[in-house]
């Protein structure tokens, strides 16, 4: 359960980091804009104006520069324009995308390791026959056998490295089991 706790701690930490990141990135002068969309008016084409102004200055008079019409038409022109104040946080965007890409990259690397490198290493270490045998063992794992193993497993070697190895093995067995029921036997999620 120590391992479990630490995993959750890390997860919580990442959520908190994410929130902090959100707040940290929020105040960047590039990140606010006032966007005015002005429709065609008489012979003037429609235009989009963007200015880096604060919320209280976000109106047609401050943002539309240069004003395409003369003094008396300004009011009529501006009445048609729609100005919107928008905010974003480029820090959050950057952080999210980089985090996403790094997780994706790690997963891909791990996948390549598991599917290509590890079998090769194992084959070199143990020889061919044992690998096939261990695969068979996994295949014969009955869902029911777990009940018996709950006890016997919980008292095995306390060594840290073994524990990690053991957890990984168990995880891989679970994934294999899932793969079998989803992709081969089509009993769930079809």
């Amino acid at each position: 359960t120590v391992k479990m706790k630490s995993v959750f701690f890390i997860e919580l930490l990442s959520v908190v980091c994410f929130l902090l990141l959100t707040q940290a990135g929020a105040k960047n002068s590039e990140d606010i804009r006032c966007k005015c969309i002005c429709p065609p008016y008489r012979d003037i084409e429609g235009q989009i104006y963007k200015q880096n102004v604060s919320l209280k200055d976000c109106n047609c008079l401050h943002v539309v520069e240069p004003m395409p019409v003369d003094g008396k038409d300004v009011e009529a022109y501006c009445l048609r324009c729609e100005c919107k104040y928008e905010e974003r946080s480029s820090g959050t965007i950057k952080g999210t995308i980089i985090m996403y890409l790094s997780i994706l990259g790690l997963l891909l690397l791990y996948m390549v390791y598991l599917t290509l490198l590890e079998p090769m290493l194992k084959r070199r270490l143990f020889g061919h026959s044992q690998l096939i045998q261990s695969d068979d063992d996994v295949g014969d794992q009955q869902p029911f056998a777990n009940a018996h193993n709950v006890l016997s497993r919980s008292h095995s070697r306390p060594n840290m490295l073994n524990k990690v190895e053991h957890a990984q093995q168990r995880w891989r067995r679970q994934v294999q089991e899932q793969r079998k029921s989803v992709f081969d036997r089509h009993v769930v999620l079809s």
């Binding site: 997860e11 929130l19 429709p39 959050t92 997963l107 089509h186 999620l189």
Partner: protein
């Protein structure tokens, strides 16, 4: 509902129990149990106190304990002791070697159904213990306060985590979708819109073009226009789509096969009590989050809403491990998962209330008021978190916010109902076609090539969707464009009306009267029609592939396209025929009487309603999604019509159909049971079968018990007084039995195959040189549910549904006759409906 019925049923049975008790052993009942039944001070849980009622069953045992002292003893020992008897743990001091519960007892195996009654009473005992202790010391008081508070804290964490994840998914999916078209030179992490955030080069006609954003053709060949640039962009689009879908399906296959699909059918089944180990685990969460982004950006016709519900449930399940209260109790955990489903929809659509109602109407099985409030809170927190991340950059929770508030006329109800009929027909057709396709995938060779299937569909989708601008854009963008009204500010093709020359001089504001369609709009219309046909076809084969795939966005897109087409048609009809009697009075020339965007909204609701058969939650989601409070009545009319029409072709929605296809043991609470069979027709063993495998409360050896268990595959065994009398004592689960025997053999001195297994309170006298007996009363459920053989099946089904039972014993004249399990009932119902009864999973 569930709660109410539990309440009622418990009262009912307790009265029957009392009746029995009075008849059978008039001298035995002392009334001490009733004295103990003090009002529950459990503010945490509004369930009726079931303990007191069930206890009466134990008094119907026709062999009274040798002395009533034992009962009185633990009767006076206080609250904990009394409850333990109900729970099946018995008076703990009698099962001396098992004082600490053996690890594993009371847990369930994969693909099994939990016993709601047992779990609920377990939680009640735990709570009672904490309450009684809290009066003794300050530390215990603090513990009880933190225990009561933990539910809300958990909700807070679930909301924060799901909101943050959903924000991340939104941002990444936007970016990756735009990646198919080009890249931002300002910083590769910006999507197209954010790339041109401050650029002043954008024009009114082409709002998203700026020099910082380079399409792939521009980067590779240097040309922005021309056939060569088009071909390069086309090819890059297909390559990216193939790459994203390939990564998604291989990651799912390599790390978490359970991450594929929408997840809502499985979550429904899990919430009804089924156990799928690893379905809500860490790896599923990570892989589903990562691959959902890939799948959405690959341009496949799928949405992120269903998978987000799954993601939120994974968060909840993982966070449950932090709190003992939820870690150890499957029923309590399901309450949290119900709330998490609400959170999922809340963040997927930015519709917190719609999420709560979705959980109530569509997903949850057991939904007490307490869960409603918790869902409300969690949905609030999640929406708040999402809003603070502001993934769409519009300071709103949703992408589809509509700005118009044009009124609608009563006569427009006719086209709205027409849209409802279309939605219902499409829903029924989609369910039929999709299930047929999925059955093909399940049973034929098609299912052996999931990766190739995904690649072919993704390649095909990309190939066909690029030429048409309405299929090239993502589903969410398409919907938001269709929902929009054409004001003067719009320059898209959909608003390609002939510009009136005189109105712009005099008109004030940006609302416009109905106008005749221009060439731009005609192009848009036939493109939309093609997009409609394409989306309808491709969604059928896409939903159910081995990538995370939601259904909401594609069905809404289909409905929105159909609605927009009808809306524009109505608009033009009204424009050219404003002197018709139906248009007279409200649609005179120069008036803005028909809003095509509203038709798109109504169409989207109708199609989604036809596919999922949601009603209330759908309407609420729609108006939260669009902000169009004025349009509740049109939405309601269309949704209701669509449900009626779709129900006429088949009563089950897409999620129920998938549950049935996979054969999950799910007792549909909406379905009526009308056949007039009796319990004796459904129970096992049947007439020709060998007799029921039972254990006796004493006289069997460990070896005999083990061989009985090994020779059968049942997951539980009734315990009777003796083989001859077959009078029922209780029920013991196979898993508990095996774990306890295993544990005793390892740890307890002198337990060998010849040792007696004793389920009674007091060990029978035996020869002095015999090995010590193994006492297993602790794992015996002393209050199994029983019905008589003549109980009509509709009542039995009701009992199963409303109490969440997993098995029920059948008696005849007080003698044990057989057993009915949930799967027996499902098989029986399948038989009545002329379906293959063996399709139920893992029978």
């Amino acid at each position: 509902m569930f709660q109410y019925w539990t309440n009622l049923f418990r009262k009912y049975t307790s009265e029957i129990g009392r009746g029995f008790g009075g008849m059978d052993n008039p001298g035995y009942r002392t009334g001490s149990f009733d004295g103990l039944h003090h009002p529950s001070d459990d503010d945490d849980d509004e369930m009726v106190d079931i303990a007191g009622a069930t206890l009466d069953f134990s008094t119907t045992d026709d062999v009274p304990p040798l002395s009533s002292g034992g009962y009185n003893e633990y009767g006076t020992s206080g609250v904990g002791g009394r409850a333990a008897g109900v729970n099946g743990n018995g008076p703990t001091k009698l099962v001396d070697p098992l004082e600490d519960p053996v690890p594993g007892v009371g847990t369930y195996e994969d693909f099994n159904t939990i016993d709601w009654v047992r779990e609920k009473s377990k939680d009640r005992d735990r709570h009672r213990e904490i309450t009684s202790k809290s009066r003794q010391s300050t530390v215990a008081l603090l513990h009880s306060v933190s225990d009561a508070f933990s539910g809300w804290l958990l909700m807070l964490l679930v909301g924060l985590m799901s909101g943050a994840l959903a924000g991340g998914i939104d941002i990444s999916a936007h970016w990756l979708t735009d990646m198919k078209e080009g890249v931002c030179l300002n910083g590769f992490w910006f999507n197209h819109e954010h790339c041109c955030w401050t650029s002043n080069e954008t024009t009114f006609q082409e709002r998203d073009r700026c020099p910082q954003w380079k399409s792939w053709a521009e980067l590779i060949t240097g040309a922005t226009e021309g056939p060569f640039a088009y071909i390069v962009n086309y090819l890059m689009y297909i390559v990216w789509a193939l790459l994203f879908s390939f990564l998604a399906v291989t990651l799912v296959r390599a790390f978490a096969p359970y991450a594929c699909g929408s997840g809502i059918p499985e979550i429904k089944t899990i919430l009804s009590g089924f156990i799928i180990r690893g379905y809500l685990g860490k790896w599923t969460l990570i892989i589903k989050t990562i691959t959902l982004v890939l799948a959405v950006s690959s341009g496949l016709s799928l949405g992120k809403e269903g998978p987000l519900v799954h993601v939120a449930c994974c968060c909840a399940n993982i966070l449950c491990h932090l709190f003992t209260k939820y870690r150890k109790n499957e029923a309590k955990r399901r309450e949290v998962l119900s709330a998490a489903a609400a959170v999922g929809v809340s963040v997927a659509f930015g519709a917190p209330i719609g999420g709560v109602l979705f959980s109530l109407e569509e997903v949850s099985y057991y939904f007490p008021l307490k869960t409603l409030w918790r869902s409300f809170f969690a949905a609030l927190v999640a929406a708040f978190t999402l809003r603070s991340i502001n993934p769409f950059g519009n300071s709103r929770l949703v992408l589809f916010y509509v700005e118009f508030h044009a009124p609608w006329h009563l006569l427009e109800l006719a086209p709205f109902i027409l849209l409802g009929i279309f939605g219902g027909l499409w829903g029924a057709l989609f369910i039929r076609a999709n299930i047929a396709w999925c059955r093909r995938r399940k049973s034929t060779r098609l299912g052996h090539y999931p990766i190739i299937e995904v690649l072919v569909v993704a390649g095909f989708t990309a190939l066909l969707s690029y030429p048409n601008s309405y299929t090239r854009m993502s589903g969410a963008e398409l919907i938001s464009e269709l929902f929009n009204d054409c004001s003067l500010l719009d320059s898209s093709q959909l608003c390609g009306y002939q510009q009136p020359s005189n109105i712009s001089e005099t008109g004030v504001g940006n609302t416009l009267a109905d106008r005749p369609a221009g060439p731009g709009l005609y192009t848009a219309l036939w493109q939309l029609a093609l997009a409609l046909v394409f989306k309808m076809m491709i969604t059928v084969v896409t939903f159910g592939m081995k990538v995370p795939s939601g259904l909401f966005i594609p069905s809404m897109a289909v409905g929105a396209i159909a609605g927009r087409l009808l809306g524009v048609g109505m608009e033009q009809l009204a424009y050219y025929n404003h002197d018709w009697i139906i248009f007279k009075g409200w649609c005179s020339p120069g008036a803005d009487c028909i809003t095509p965007g509203l038709y798109a909204m109504v169409g989207a609701a109708a199609c989604l309603g036809g596919v999922t058969r949601m009603t209330v939650s759908l309407v609420v989601i729609m108006f939260e999604l669009t902000g169009g409070l004025e349009y509740i009545v049109p939405l309601m009319a269309a949704t209701m019509t669509s449900k009626w029409v779709a129900d006429a072709f088949g009563r089950e929605g897409i999620y129920e159909a998938h549950i049935r296809l996979n054969g999950y043991p799910f007792l549909e609470p909406k379905e009526e049971f009308e056949h007039n069979s009796l319990a004796v027709d459904v129970m096992r063993p049947r007439r020709a079968d060998p007799a029921l495998a039972v254990l006796t409360q004493e006289g069997m050896t460990v070896g005999e018990v083990e061989s009985l268990v090994e020779s059968t595959h049942y997951s539980g065994f009734p315990v009777v007084v003796s083989q001859e009398s077959q009078r029922l004592v209780g029920f013991v689960l196979r898993r508990d039995l095996l774990i306890s025997i295993d544990n005793a053999r390892q740890r307890q001195e002198g337990v060998v195959s010849a040792s007696q297994v004793v389920f009674t309170e007091h060990a029978p006298s035996q020869a002095p040189d015999a090995p010590p007996p193994l006492r297993l009363r602790g794992i015996l459920d002393l209050s199994p549910f029983t019905v008589t053989d003549h109980t009509p099946m509709d009542i039995t089904v009701d009992i199963f549904r409303k109490l969440g039972l997993r098995q029920c014993l059948v008696t005849h004249n007080g003698r044990l006759l057989g057993i009915i399990t949930k799967k027996d009932i499902l098989k029986h119902m399948a038989q009545i409906a002329n379906r293959d009864p063996d399709s139920i999973l893992f029978n």
